[in-house]
Symmetry: D2
Subunit: 498 residues, 4 copies
């Protein structure tokens, strides 16, 4: 019989080996075959991990849980405080000690964070495992960005910061090279964190409201151009946004990029949850080919279904990421990096792409169903064809003063994330800046609408349930509030300057 | 500079390396030094695990958590359904599939159990990791038994069975060699599981009550001798017990062993939680040198502070363990084996011995404090000098009918495990057998007492709290029940035949 | 605005509340609305858990992970050593102390096991949570058995024992009521654990080989009848088997049950992995209606996709389970109970039924594909229509002496569980009993075959991969071994007495 | 018998209840007593959690693991995506979906992070549990700061940012109120992250080197005063540092605070790991009473033994924390908050204080042993009596060019955190700023030294091992490098301007 298969043949019935016995004698039963197998296992594990480390790419197929745990153990052993050959003595002021065993477990023994004092991109000699994790996170993020469609992306940096802070980090890192700049030209989108990122970076916003085009709110390209022409030197960068709530459209990155290049002004893109939208990705690519995009930022949680806590900054030049990384003053949590790596290892490239494909199918379904529901109740869905994530349903049948209540009821019925946006002429003050009609992305008055979105990870069941709850809630609400029969066209734009 | 230290010197301040940069360029920073270190880590991890597997001994010093996790990952990879080089296809009726991810996690991906159909000591080719775990558990158990003092122990088998079932397994495995036997001679100890293990094995008990010697209940050696003389052939084995509640003493293993050897009858010792008692261990050794002890059984949870579920069977001849292991009809949970191995790896030999040393100190302290409390309230502590775990405090001041209530109140005050034993002439029926005064180990009547025990793992704080609660509870109870001033000698034995 | 919705409306944009602030002032922001919500959460959680405990049924829909964890926390708090209102002082010899934090975590703080000394069905006052878990496991098992089709099942007991030990427990518990019995009449099936369970219970087997009917091996009903007629009193019970490897069929429970009833002999069914087979379940029901089935035993791991370690004993009379539970001498691990409960909670009734439906679809697919593969290579698939789990492919084209090697190669190619059964005239000795041609369920000689099975949990992908590997392996093996063109009919039965 | 104790008395032996039975009948055994107990458990758990939430204080004694897990489950249920009464449908762009089950587990089902878009101090209606966690973290941090000695601290904010970023956050938040400011006056300490935090906030540093006083490097108060006098308006704030490597001393917060108050300039203190130093805490208090400290920042990992990732910002006025919290642009990871809360719950106030007491004892021991070692080898320990964490040992016996190598060897011997600082006249460039002799906190030249620190969490064993390794390494190093007999006074300061 072939030597190689000698040992395990005993599992074939009919071939009866000598009886094996227990305890000390069980020891004797572990023979050459098992030793050989153990060697194969160790080599296979090592090969798996080494190959991952060598390629630094998301594997094609996802890894099972036990492989993820092996990976975590392997990484942890690379941190000095987890050395197995020698007990490390900590003689510094920060030695990765974790006193609560539950906390240590939740961190998989990786406690050193990433980066070194003053540079998030540095390797920590005492925490090589954590450093490897940070490196893999960057590489996986780059790989994912490319696979998702940002094919010419050249560098990615995972930061344990929210989108707003990451935007701010980019802006701050450009300060040195734009010494005259005092402003950031901001294409209004009513997310506080995006707006505040400008203030956080130490700049003043110059605000450009979007303009109405059909139902959609689109970039006021002309004004941008004019402002850069007039005050280019004083402007650190243009901050545009892709992913947003309807009826706002993604900004015209092609146009803005071209203008920025012409006027030699950096261009930063807030692509918060835009990776899941083909249109946002298309615009990134278009912007990159027609002009300049110096960096684009996306949320980890909104695009990759990990807990809140991180963002990934992408650049189209490899060198462009360096000053941004260097600008970070210190080390940081490795948790967002870890979560991203574990998730992508667990999904594999194939699994990741499937979640994105599914979002597309689900969005189209959601749009169809919302339109049909709108028809039934005499409302309509804003026609914003470039927004492939968020939808807006008019609420003209509900009196303005009751629209908010309708939103609250939905929330209490277990529909989270649906938002009622009602029109208002009152002003919202954010860090000293006044916004008319905040939440509508524009001063313009409207009849009130309901936003819903189809984020990556939404399931068929959820979608069904969503419409069932909206319908029931609406029916009951109408009945209780004696709502009028809605008008046939419910879109009413009122110029806010009126 | 020495080449070997070249890489990591950059952590020394003052020596400034070239700036490292992030993302893709972070990749470039992982140089020869890190690769070398990674190789060292992998070699060290492999060395640690291989050395453990080679020696199969409890390490001197405990392992930290991350090493335990590495160990579990390494083991798991040895099971075919966790192979990392190839995805195993399961074409059998039992493929270790675990559908609930939480359950899989709680089992560290080890789902195959130990043993093969019909033999718990067999290696499963498709579950080499689980088999290795079973083997290590046996070896560790043997090592621990020897270190704890059973120095001539030659084999140990960890079974996922309670003490009673393990006793039963031993008895059953001897059936073939004692074809005439119908009885097991049982030295009465009022634990149901010990008694029922005889019935479970298919034998009838011949019950020998202990006799009073001073305060203690000790083995009635003469009766045992007479019975073996008369009915030796019909007796499968003598089943003696070491660890028990005061005032019962450990059985006289020396005497019993000698008698058993003389009459050629096997001797099985129920050493349930006796490993922590020097006296029980001494008796095991003495029994072994003066006669025969065919097997001795101890609980894993009571001796090693693991969850309930397993026992370890020890024998003084290596060959003696084989028929016992083979007698087990099937495979079994690997959880008790895993828990034992993890616990001993985590404590190390040193840690294990410390917990045992501490039990000794704590027991003496408990005895001193209980005597002093007894004095205060005019009760006394039974003088059972060979019982180094359990103590009995007389309750003569409490009327018989209220003794049980006193126990219940203690329980409700958060004192668990303290038991009131009151004397009774009524009979308890266990599987058709009648016991007079069950719980007292003897038909003899007494004045009622309270048992407390000092198990391994008890802390100073617990001991203090225990006496504080006993004192408060007793004081309040006396006051509320208007108890008389207790008599000075509260021990009253009433012969049960009266 | 409606008071009830007052608080959460602030998430509706456009309605701007006063700015909330951080730290101590964050505290102030938690207002009446949040307090109310917290009360709702607490009530909902309590309601969920209480309703589970009241109904003691598998919920219709599966619970998400966080609810499982809530459930485990809730249970754990019911064990005295996890009390949160008071720190329990352990004054007994077994106090659920777990010294290794990793072990404690893997047991979700449930360390007391189930049962009390001497009765696995007793509630432990100091471990109410563990006792509740044990109770739920029994109830869930009963519910599952009924849903799966054993509709008249009246009681179920989850034991932390393998199938063989559980069979043995049943047999032992009947000893008292069958004082004359020395034998168990065993319908041969070549699983060691089933056979050894008889010896473990202290009985001698009377072996009845199956007889050939077409391709299948079926129950020799006549012989059984004759033997019970002759020696009924001496026979403890008949031990039949449903689930088994082809070409053995499930035993004719109808016939056996009737005979047992007629002769007043108990009937025990080894239904190891038979729950997933409609035919096995049908036979259980038929047996129950035509005669007596005193208990039937199934593996937890093979039917419910949990790790190895437990079995469930079912009875058709509620009272019949009591003596079996009482016969167990001691307490036991709660892990198998926990795993079952978590798995069924996580799947829900719906999910459980889906896994069973899927097994049926997959089996038919497997059968079709195996037949087609057999055709291609000139072999055939044994025609055993009542076996809906296991299939047998003839191996007539492979010389007898190489069949085992073929099995080994499959194993090394990552196909686990496929078994080559070659015919042999040599005898296997199991605990003193000789078996001719062990593994074939019969002395009869045959040309060798390969068994594969479709267990619950097998996926489409696995099935595809299985056939791909079998085909490749076979092709290469044929080439390397220069196999002849196979004969068209490969089934050759050789009477073993020849 | 007292009704209240009725149920559990059956655990008292002697009182024999009717036999309890298993399975369905086990169900029947759960009687009124158990139901009552379950109600008590639920009430106790609720009481524990409610009391925590009401008091928002670190409990006096630490909680055991199972209580921590209960706490996490309870929190998680408050996030809408973990509701147990209703399945939440996510119709927003961020719904806390976590696709990888391992990641979800590592986050204890808390995926929403803390804060809302644009304000880290806001309550998230859809993530009330996460919001409660954030609130508790702030409260616990405040409680801890007060207990540790910063008794007049009024507010604390836990941010998921490193110390540098947290310093930057403070500075940025003051921009609005100091519109003329362009500079931050920085008391030089050679930590990159502290320095870079200024640049990150968008300011230019004005650097004031410390001056030599005896062995120590202390604050150049006079220069600070002069600069504020001259350019007060242009200066955003003074950034001083307490905890640092010897021979630098903590800055003179008293003096600086007074000057800041006089010139009406904010004062920010980098108290990175200073909580464990009585002297640093004393200076904070002194600074607060003699003048102004607008905020002080400390690392979570260095002071509380949690993984890297968070910082806590403290202020002496409650209102002062508000603008800092509001300045954060977005939501953020809840992990640092969670880690802090779990750790403090697990330690209790008592445990926390003990770790601090221990650090003090260990530091004094370290200092004694280092002095004695210095004596032996003819070196000396810098006399910096105000630095109670870090020590500096002169290395005059090792030639300058070999000092770094000595550090590397120590690292390879498993001593992490010990740093060799050699003197250099070359310059280090950090983001465009040149530093002479970076690492020495001063341009002044010296003979080279070794820094070691005694951080909180260092154990006796580690300390012993540390000195053993330093001694062996030094001995071998001397031998191999043929070092001269060291001079008796090894301190040589060379003015860097030479």
């Amino acid at each position: 019989m072939d030597q190689k298969y000698q040992r395990f043949d005993t599992h074939a019935l009919g071939a009866d080996g000598s009886p094996r016995c227990a305890s000390c004698t069980m020891r004797a039963s572990f023979g050459k075959g098992e030793a050989e197998y153990s060697r194969i296992v160790s080599k296979s594990s090592a090969a798996l991990l080494n190959s991952l480390w060598e390629k630094k790419q998301i594997p094609e197929d996802g890894w099972p849980d036990h492989a993820l745990e092996l990976f975590l153990s392997w990484l942890a052993c690379h941190d000095t405080n987890n050395r197995v050959d020698i007990t490390t003595v900590g003689a510094g002021e920060r030695e990765g000690r974790v006193v609560c065993s539950l906390v240590r477990k939740l961190h998989c023994n990786l406690s050193h964070g990433i980066g070194r004092s003053g540079n998030i991109g540095d390797i920590q000699p005492k925490a090589l495992g954590s450093s490897m994790l940070a490196c893999l996170a960057n590489e996986f993020a780059l790989h994912a960005l490319q696979e998702i469609g940002v094919v010419t992306c050249k560098a990615a940096l995972v930061v344990p910061l929210c989108t707003g802070m990451a935007l701010s980090l980019c802006m701050g890192s450009w300060r040195k090279s734009r010494p005259m700049a005092k402003y950031v030209l901001w294409l209004r989108v009513d997310q506080k964190s995006c707006f505040k990122s400008i203030l956080h970076a130490g700049y003043e916003p110059l605000i450009v409201d979007p303009i109405r085009e059909g139902d959609a709110l689109v970039t006021d390209v002309e004004t941008v151009n004019r402002m850069l022409e007039q005050r280019g030197e004083e402007i650190l960068c243009v901050l545009s946004t892709t992913s947003c709530f309807a009826p706002r459209s993604p900004d015209s990155l092609e146009a803005i990029s071209g203008i920025c290049q012409m006027h030699n002004v950096p261009h930063l893109v807030n692509n918060a949850y835009g990776l899941q939208s083909e249109e946002c990705v298309r615009r990134l690519n278009a912007g990159r080919s027609t002009g300049r995009i110096d960096a684009f930022v996306q949320s980890l949680d909104k695009n990759f279904q990990v807990p809140v806590g991180g963002a990934v900054i992408g650049t189209f030049k490899q060198s462009a990421i360096v000053p941004i990384a260097q600008f970070y003053p210190g080390r940081a949590s490795c948790v967002p990096s870890r979560d991203l790596v574990l998730t992508l290892l667990s999904q594999g490239r194939r699994g990741l792409m499937e979640t994105y494909e599914k979002q597309k199918r689900m969005f189209h379904k959601m749009k169809r169903r919302l339109s049909s529901f709108a028809n039934e109740i005499g409302e309509c869905v804003y026609d914003v064809e470039d927004n492939l994530i968020s939808l807006a349903l008019t609420l003209s049948s509900i009196p303005k003063e009751k629209q908010t209540l309708f939103g609250s009821i939905l929330f209490n019925r277990g529909v989270s994330g649906a938002r009622v946006v009602m029109s208002t002429t009152s002003k919202t003050l954010i860090e000293g800046y006044e916004f008319m009609n905040f939440g509508s992305h524009s001063n313009e008055q409207h009849g009130g609408y309901l936003n819903i979105a189809c984020g990556v990870g939404m399931s068929e069941g959820e979608l069904d349930e969503l419409f069932s709850r909206i319908a029931t809630t609406y029916a009951k609400f109408s009945r209780q509030n004696g709502l009028f029969v809605p008008r046939s066209d419910s879109r009413v734009y009122v110029d806010s300057d009126d």
